[in-house]
């Protein structure tokens, strides 16, 4: 009898919980209700310990103090927003302000579908354009078809990023080598490390690092015209032409010559970064997003980061964007929040924590290493040297690049077949925009 009672209670408890769950779902705030001016629903996916995470936590505090409104912050993952945003933004559950990845296949796609708002008037009103360098504005403005570099503002970035080369200065000193300043010197250094039995480049074929190196090698041969054709579809890209052929051939040579280990096709970015952190690989071509991590963890040796030697163009762009969903209930509050993130004190938090602020007062950057990074970034901006990322032009092109370059470095495909595979997917994915 006791057992029966217990079971009955358990079932009743479960039934109660289920009913409560159903009731909660029914009562849960759906968002997107009428504008109340009292709360701002905010989604972003920066880690709490990252430069941006810290800066935006402070921005939330200032916002709440100044406006009296509360911030309903929901921590999301990059994947979550990337994969589900288009469905959520079409509903009343849309937030008032959201961080979103920039580029044609991401923010551009949302802009073209009308899911995120044209914020040009707010940009004029708050004067954000004056704080953003032209190559940073490219990724914030889109055409009606969702191609970046258009006339309409759909987002605001308040930090930047670029891909450069990290060098382990101690390993260089031990090998009697200098940090290279030209591409020829870079290759000499790679040869010297190989001669000493060291595989110099940390690489990852299963994720973005290898594709970024490939595109950086293309940028070494290409110019702004190539970038405009590739990223902004100004002209068709010649996938068997000298620029891309040179990049693919050089990458294959890097493997043949032992600059890159021949077993990197299944390695992930994290593992490549860790092999730099633990001193296994003395050189790592990757983004400024690693900088803060290396400051914290690559403490066993002295290191530095420069732009890719001998290249006028570097991978990079504005950071991710603040976008305002078309269905947002409190757009005015969203603009006020964006404006706070542009203030010097918030920008300084980004800059002093390993991030790349776009509107910081240089006098506010007290950290020496961060100053060096920001100096390098500003040097690229002054040359209008940001060339964006290779996977941006077409939805799903990231996976194609990973797969094709895996094929190249494992010897399954030759240079021509790799370029052909990339070209077919690029042409198919960009057909809608041409």
């Amino acid at each position: 009898m006791a057992r029966t009672n217990r079971r009955t209670k358990l079932l009743a408890g479960l039934a109660g919980l289920t009913a409560a769950g159903v009731a909660l779902v029914g009562c849960a705030p759906s968002g997107g209700d009428e504008e109340d001016g009292q709360s701002l629903r905010l989604w972003h996916y920066e880690g709490a310990d990252s430069a941006m995470g810290k800066a935006w936590a402070e921005a939330i505090t200032i916002f709440e103090e100044e406006t009296g409104a509360t911030v309903e912050f929901e921590e999301k993952s990059f994947e979550q927003i990337q994969k589900t945003a288009s469905q959520v933004l079409d509903t009343d559950a849309a937030p008032d302000l959201m961080e979103f990845n920039k580029g044609n296949a991401t923010a551009g796609f949302l802009a073209s579908t009308g899911l995120i708002a044209d914020i040009s008037d707010a940009v004029d009103e708050y004067g954000w354009a004056d704080k953003l360098a032209p190559s940073l504005q490219t990724t914030a403005k889109y055409s009606d078809d969702g191609v970046m570099g258009g006339d309409t503002w759909y987002g605001v970035p308040n930090y930047g990023e670029f891909v450069g080369v990290y060098y382990n200065k101690d390993a260089f000193a031990d090998a009697g080598l200098e940090i290279p300043t030209t591409y020829d010197e870079f290759v000499d250094v790679l040869d010297a490390f190989v001669a000493k039995g060291i595989t110099p480049l940390a690489e990852a074929g299963a994720e973005y690092p290898l594709g970024q190196l490939w595109y950086q090698l293309a940028l070494r041969e290409g110019d702004r015209g190539f970038v405009d054709d590739y990223q902004l579809y100004k002209n068709p890209v010649d996938w068997q032409g000298p620029v891309i052929t040179s990049a693919t051939e050089t990458l294959a040579e890097y493997v043949d010559k032992g600059y890159i280990a021949d077993d990197v096709s299944s390695i992930k970015a994290e593992d490549a970064g860790v092999s730099f952190i633990n001193g296994t690989a003395p050189i790592f071509v990757s983004g400024s997003w690693w900088f803060g991590r290396f400051v914290a963890e690559a403490t066993g040796f002295d290191w530095t980061m420069t732009a890719f030697p001998g290249a006028d163009l570097s991978l990079g762009s504005s950071g991710n964007l603040w976008v305002v969903p078309e269905n947002a209930a409190n757009k005015e509050l969203a603009y006020e929040f964006i404006d706070i993130t542009m203030r010097p004190e918030i920008q300084a938090i980004i800059g002093n924590n390993g991030g790349l602020p776009v509107a910081a007062d240089p006098a506010d950057i007290t950290d020496e290493k961060s100053s060096e990074l920001i100096g390098t970034f500003n040097g690229i901006l002054e040359k209008d040297g940001l060339a964006f990322y290779p996977d941006w032009p077409a939805p799903g092109f990231y996976d194609v690049i990973v797969q094709q370059l895996q094929g190249l470095i494992t010897g399954v495909e030759d240079v021509q077949a790799t370029n052909e595979g990339l070209g077919e997917a690029y042409d198919e994915g960009t057909a809608d925009f041409r």
Binding site: K83, A206, A261, S265, T410
Partner: protein, 320 residues
């Protein structure tokens, strides 16, 4: 000595309905089935119809779909990745159905017949639970552990062990055919527990006297296994084979976590390929076409299995 003669074969009696017919007639049954039909309609049939509709459309997930006729289906016929993914399904069937079912049958019989008898039921139960463990392990956790074991450089546990005996490190997931082989071995490991548990439960209903009689007649273990064990638990073998085949055709999680279809698309499977088209390339129409083909294949396999099982059961009932 008693001579046992077979009785004259009689017609198989028609099965009588267990539920008495009430005054409500057949109409009352339909009333009870209604909620089930409504759920079937909402959860299965309408999405299925929508999916088939999308195979004739070009759609990026928002705005209205654009009718493109048979373009997606034509593309499918000449798409190497699609055919690679279905070829890999055959390997998945080998790893998730054929090997686990055969191994599971042997392990279950050993646990039941040998371990159970010699070491007691507790040891058998413990081992059964051990085999079942990978089934309850989240695939993400398993994937991370497997990834650590088969890391390409000498940090990987497997490569380290091979290093002890002088075998150089292998890039297990970075090249073919090792990437597919690793995936298959993982699937055998994950799947094995399921048939073991089902078969051991099935073995509970085998009359021990049958084994004793066979033993007295001089049958060895292999003969007892094939003549009694396999013959009696045949329905469970069918169920395991069918469910595992469907699982193998639909496999997604392990591929997503361990190889992401790599290297160079060599471990692509239909469900992962459809996912890529749906969510990363936003080719919803083409993704729907792959999903529809997958559904058709699963339905055909299920129908074939069920028909074969029914015909064998009918033959058995008829004493053939």
């Amino acid at each position: 000595m008693t001579l046992i003669t077979r009785g004259e074969r009689t017609a198989v009696p028609r099965e009588q309905p267990a539920i008495p017919q009430g005054r409500g007639g057949a109409g009352a049954y339909w009333l009870y089935l209604l909620p089930g039909f409504i759920l079937l309609l909402v959860i299965v049939l309408i999405p299925l119809g929508w999916n088939v509709f999308l195979t004739f459309q070009k759609w990026r997930g928002v705005r209205a779909p654009e009718f493109i006729g048979l373009e997606n289906w034509q593309k499918l016929l000449t798409d190497d990745d699609f055919w690679t993914s279905f070829t890999n399904s055959v390997w998945m069937i080998l790893a998730m159905v054929v090997v686990p079912t055969i191994l599971g049958l042997l392990v279950a019989a050993l646990l039941f017949d040998v371990i159970g008898r010699k070491f007691g039921g507790r040891v058998g139960s413990f081992l059964r639970a051990t085999y079942y463990l990978p089934q309850i392990l989240p695939v993400v956790v398993a994937g991370i552990v497997i990834g650590w074991i088969v890391r390409p450089d000498s940090d990987g546990a497997l490569n380290q062990m091979l290093g002890w005996i002088g075998i150089p490190a292998v890039d297990w997931l970075g090249q073919m055919p090792s990437a597919l082989i690793v995936l298959m071995v993982v699937m055998v490991w994950v799947q094995l527990g399921y048939p073991v548990v089902i078969f051991m439960a099935a073995l509970q209903r085998v009359d021990p006297e049958l084994y004793e009689a066979a033993e007295l007649d001089g049958a060895n273990w292999v003969q007892r296994f094939s003549a009694i064990t396999v013959s009696i638990i045949r329905p469970e073998i069918f169920v395991v084979t069918l469910t595992c085949t469907i699982a193998a055709l639909k496999v997604f999680g392990p591929v997503y976590v361990i190889t992401r279809g790599g290297p160079a698309g060599a471990t692509l499977v239909p469900a992962y390929y459809a996912y890529q088209e749906f969510f990363t390339k936003r080719n919803i129409g083409y993704g729907a076409t792959i999903a529809t083909v997958l559904t058709i294949v699963v339905v055909i396999v299920s129908i074939v299995f069920i028909r074969v099982q029914n015909s064998m059961e009918q033959k058995e009932r008829a004493g053939l």
